[in-house]
Amino acid sequence: MDKSNPDANPDSGTGVLVRAYVPTQKQMGRLYDPYMALERGTKFEDLYNAGRRMWSGPEETSIPLDQSILYNQLCALLFNCVDLNLYLDTHPGDSQALMLYNSLGRELRTLKDEYEEAYGPVLNFGWSDAKLPFSWTANPWPWERSDY
């Protein structure tokens, strides 16, 4: 392996007998904004388009997410960080992806403070401050909320 570039793969399996092969995503390519990413299920336009080509079903949700709602903002940033995390798992040397991951993470942690001020803790087990009466247990829980 080329140690200077952890993503380089000189023994990539294209054309090798008895070996399944999915080409590695070469680069992040065009990226959706955080809300479009959440609606479409990926940050990466190339992966969305690849998925579209395999199917003629409906496009993303016909009800766009209301971006003025704090909960939707939180979900969007949480999701974008997940998708970038998975990308970085298989592209550990991509500096552009790492910068974006860290910058979205900082946005997420700022928004988390604002959200918790309004709705109570997002995390428990010591990772968020709580208030009395123990605000972690307070409604709404995510499966029953309709206030967003």
């Binding site: 609606e39 299920g41 998925g51 079903g57 409906p58 997410l65 909960y71 995390n85 998975l86 995510p142």
Partner: protein, 190 residues
Amino acid sequence: MWLYQKALQHPIHIKNPDPRMAILIASQYGGPNGELGASLRYLSQRFSMPTEMTKAVLNDIGTEELGHMEMVGTMVRQLLKGATPEQIRAAGAGSYYSDHGSGVYPSSADGEPFSAAAIQSMEDAVANLHEDMAAEQKAKATYEYLIKMCDDPDVIGPLIFLREREIVHFQRFGEALDHLQAEMNGKKYY
């Protein structure tokens, strides 16, 4: 150890109950191609994964699947809640109601309880990753069948999101497989 985040991965707010759709979607909770099986499969397989990349991919996708299980459970509950027992029976969901009321139970659309027999976990990392790529394809196909049977945009939106996640996971498993086989081709054998 896991940390719970008090938010769904994708917001869900279903306004109109649909008990029949609830039973069909519940298959992605505890059915043969469902999210419970997916998370158990990846989180079990990761213990014998040999490389940094494969351990991380299995751990992180397995964790995300727990969030998908929560999304599907949320859909099942919201589709059942608010329907009367008469409506549930008329919708053909009476047998589910007899056993579970309007609660959430891991079973297939046919009522078969969750079974780990639908998943596999071996020490062999290459075999595991092929299983994982097949699992993502099967889950993607199931979400497509569900979307075709559904006419409520409140339900279709999250289903389209979940379908796309299967595609992204397939890609990441494929990348991890290629990377692993390249390393095996180099020097080390796992």
